[in-house]
């Protein structure tokens, strides 16, 4: 058989198999409205992978939101970007419904002044989350989430009223903390 035919058959077989094995598989897209209220665009996807498990990945970030602190100069402002893959366990055996507990990893880059101090660097760490999902309709869910975790960070930090020095002359900072790391009220739309 010619190669294109083989490829065609393979694709067709996969397409035929998908709905069969995907009876319980669902894909959802979501956004955290609490984040949106703080001018932080965000988007998440959630893939149901079993009776009790789902895989969620979300990203959020902002650049110079309205609440940015400009106390260290106009050129400094808040900007950050973060991603969080998460595995969720659904207690009642029906994903995207009612209570779940999750294990996740948060990775972020940040650059923001806070109380007269500039923080700049990278942070990452594991976290635990817990949430509740209400089914609003056939395809629409409302999700409440909160979580905490360890956050390891390394970067620069600068405080003072002098003009900002070059980044590599700022003092290094690193460490880790146990901190709340997510809070959300999300709208979830089930794509399929």
């Amino acid at each position: 058989m010619a190669r294109p035919v083989k490829a065609y058959l393979l694709v067709m077989t996969l397409l035929l198999l998908l709905p069969l094995q995907g009876a319980a598989q669902r894909l959802a897209i979501k956004t955290n409205v609490l984040s949106l209220a703080t001018a932080t665009p965000n988007l998440g996807f959630e893939l149901v992978t079993g009776e009790r498990l789902s895989l969620s990945i979300s990203a959020f970030g902002s650049a110079n939101p309205y609440w940015s602190d400009h106390s260290l100069g106009e050129e400094t402002g808040t900007s950050f970007f973060a991603m969080r893959p998460e595995i969720r366990y659904w207690f009642n055996g029906r994903p995207l419904t009612r209570f779940y507990a999750g294990v996740n990893v948060l990775a972020a880059t940040y650059d923001f002044p806070l109380w007269g101090m500039l923080h700049k660097g990278t942070a990452a760490g594991p976290g635990l989350s817990f949430g509740y999902v209400i089914n609003l309709g056939k395809r629409l869910d409302l999700e409440f989430t909160s979580g905490a975790g360890l956050l390891f960070y390394w970067g620069k930090r600068f405080s003072g009223d002098t003009p900002l020095p070059a980044e590599d002359t700022m003092p290094d900072t690193k460490g880790y903390k146990l901190t709340p790391n997510q809070l959300g009220i999300s709208l979830v739309y089930i794509i399929k």
Binding site: A148, R157, S159, K174, G175, K177, L178
Partner: protein, 321 residues
């Protein structure tokens, strides 16, 4: 039947005498916490539970001292009594070390607190699995804690902490809110709703004893009141009572023993109750016996006095005539 019930009594305790719990509200402020609760008795009608909670958020290692802090190490023993398979009340004691500083403030506090208080709440079934169950608890504790603390400030280099020399102590209210997940082999539903079936047996035995005593008493005192004073078919009684009250009393004691105490003791012995309950009932029967005898003495004394008075007045009447 008795054997059957004792058989299930032995089997029951393996079904979830231990519960593991974690308070979600504390996780939202990043304080890891875990509780272990143990039934205080293996009986299926047990309602008493003892628990211990550990909360530990440690001081982290950072180049610069963080601008906000909420470090806590707490140990909290607890007792609770389940009123039914939903509500519970109880008490706790707690000791903790803490360090707290709000962001943006220059001063933080560190020290310890110790105290205790009352707690109450409800537990609802959430999910039932094949071999275990997950419940959710809504609870509240309110206590009074003695707090000994000192101020601290982050030093100029922002890498160390300056502690103030003075410590202050005071007593503060200490509330705790809980929305907790509880994992157990069995759900709270159906766990704390059975009562001791022996309690009913005990109550029935007690009632029977009381009825028997009442009947005995009634017979005796009715007879006395009517001046017959023949408690059982014994005509000597009347004479005895008048001539030799002590012998009469001994007779009554024998009668009481035979018609009440022996029967009660026999019934107790034959009941399904455990030895402790039997002993309790035996003691009770003893006390009833003594009480009855005392009452008898009182009545006899009063009766004798009355007769004497009657005789005296009769004599007087005779004299007058």
């Amino acid at each position: 039947m008795a054997q059957e019930s004792s058989h299930t009594d032995e089997k029951e305790p393996s079904k979830g005498f231990l519960a593991l719990k974690t308070n979600l509200l504390e996780w939202t402020v990043a304080i890891p916490n875990v509780s272990m609760m143990i039934d205080l008795s293996g009986k299926p009608w047990n309602r008493s539970v003892a628990g211990i909670t550990l909360k530990y958020k440690w001081r982290t290692n950072e180049t610069y001292v963080p601008s906000y802090m909420l470090n806590l190490l707490e140990i909290r023993p607890e007792y609770r009594y389940y009123l039914n398979n939903k509500f519970f009340v109880g008490g706790y004691a707690a000791y903790n070390n803490f360090a707290a500083k709000l962001p943006g403030k220059s001063i933080g506090w560190t020290g310890f607190t110790a105290g205790g208080g009352a707690s109450a709440g409800m537990e609802l079934p959430l999910y039932q699995y094949r071999k275990s169950a997950l419940d959710i608890e809504f609870g509240l504790s309110l206590g009074a804690h003695y707090v000994l603390y000192q101020d601290f400030a982050i030093d100029a280099s922002q890498t160390g902490i300056d502690f103030s020399d003075t410590r202050s102590g005071r007593i503060l209210p200490y509330p705790e809110l809980r929305i907790a997940l509880v994992w157990r082999k069995t759900s709270v539903k159906g766990k704390y709703n059975s009562t001791n079936p022996m309690k009913e047996v005990y109550a029935r035995e007690r009632e029977a004893i009381q009825i028997n005593l009442d009947a005995t008493n009634k017979e005796t005192f009715d007879a006395m009141q009517q001046g017959r004073l023949k408690v059982y078919q014994n005509d000597v009684f009347q004479d005895l009572y008048q001539s030799d009250p002590d012998a009469y009393r001994a007779d009554f004691e024998a009668y009481l023993q035979e018609s009440f105490v022996d029967i009660a003791m026999d019934n107790i012995e034959r009941s399904r109750l455990d030895e402790r309950s039997k002993d309790k009932l035996r003691k009770w029967v003893d006390s009833l016996r003594n009480k009855t005898l005392a009452e008898f003495d009182k009545t006899v004394k009063a009766e004798l006095r009355k007769q004497k008075e009657t005789e005296a007045s009769a004599d007087k009447l005779k004299d007058n005539q």
